[in-house]
Amino acid sequence: MNGISPELVRHVALLSRLELSEGETCRFGDDLANILDYVAKLNELDTSSIPPTSHSFKMSNVFREDVVQPSLTNPEALANAPDAENDCFKVPAVIQEL
């Protein structure tokens, strides 16, 4: 079984912006290890002669032409926003000034 350290769980949680309690960190460590073990079964197959692909279907070159289509109106765009101000989405301040 893969060992997933608490540090790795905390790192993954940070990347996903999740706040975990100590108990959750421990539990998710086990869960993640189980999932990885399950997926690792695929490694038992010999795929050395199969080229890597990113899609299950063979399709390429699906394009659109460079022609402007109508956009949403501003009220439509903001309709689902939890908060808005001055025609913009309103979000918590980002600590890092960019």
């Binding site: 990113s54 460079d66 903001l78």
Partner: protein
Amino acid sequence: MPRYEPVIGFEVHVELCTNTKIFCGCSTRFGAPPNTQVCPVCLGMPGVLPVVNRKAVEFAIRTAIALNCGITKYTTFDRKNYYYPDLPKNYQISQNYASLGTSGWVDIDVNGTVKRVRINNVHLEEDAGKLLHPEIPGANYSLVDLNRAGTPLVEIVSEPDLGTADEALAYMNTLKNLLEYIEVSDCKMQEGRLRFEVNISLRESGAAKLGTKVEIKNLNSMKTALKCIGHETRRQTALLERGEKVFQETRLWDEAASVTRAMRSKEVAHDYRYFPDPDLVEIHITDEWQEQVRAHLPELPDAKRQRFIAEYDLPEYDARLLTASKTVATYYERAAAAHNNPKAISNWMMTEVLRELRERDIEPDDFPLKPEGLAAIVEMIDDARISGKIAKDVFAKAAQSGRDPGEIVNAEGLLQVTDTGEIEKWVDEAIAENPDMVAKVKAGQTKTFQALVGQIMKKSRGKANPALVNELLKSRIP
């Protein structure tokens, strides 16, 4: 020689001048009211499907060709995962595993010396939105405008081949000119169309081993990039001289303080977990497609220079100067089309026009004197309607006001006098008023002869035809 020397590489982001965004039909026009050029796709709504803009791919192929890159036959899009409020999907669609162009180069001219800069790769990605900070002091929120989200970007990644600020400037200028030449972007830096990121490390002068690399983001003009290179070189030098270490990190340029600042490592965890975007299928760039793009490539600077030499019979020097920027070359071609004296027009461009543009720091499009006006001035000289000296005055006036040069000449009575009778009058007056000079001329002093010509030109307020003045004066003083 300083103990340490900088090793500099660039990542340049170019907003492409397509009509629409890269994965949806929203307009890319700059300056629209906030959140009015957005749709479910570029807002990152669940369940939507992005579809690639063919033009954006072609512009990227064009860029890769112009930078002498190999074109990847099968190219794909990948998701770069990170959280930031200007990124509605929480991932940016970019190219990580199969960049569209790889292993290219571009030659830059650094004060007369040509240097080759290697291009690691050219790839396509989407731009993020814009974060606006409320002007209320202490406000604990930000506002997001997603009009820019999804604008197609080409990112040009160089190898760390630059060693001085001069080289960095030449590289940035060369890229800008090239991108303008191939018409993939208008490169307006004040609108954020062209943005720079630099990576800098220091090494012992002359040593081969590279030091630790620091990346600096957020550079919106060439001037800022240069200031940042200067600052970062001094900062790292000071660290090393104190025996401290340079950390590998991403820093931000703080324009107000003119310093770089470390980003908090927690927020920039370089762990983007790239994976192929399942919503976007592979792009197959066939040889035919590549050839088609190549065939329709607008004329590149080198080809234009060669053509200027052949078509206008210009010296290499002139052709190089006139083709260094596409907008200058276009100005020249319009002037040369309006009056057939390409060399004279080239001379006026190189001396007067380029100087005015430099002094005012403007582009040819914003220069009040239009190319046809410049051609008219040269034509009036060629037709002996005005002298070269008067032409300079007319040019200065037209360059200020944009008035039509022909109209200036007429309104101010500057037409050259070629009427022998009138010129004879000025010649005789000058002879009568300057007996000493006449004596000296008779004694063989050619310098005084020229001074006397000057006297006559002055009487005519510069309007007498100088050749006629010379001829008449000679006949009067045997």
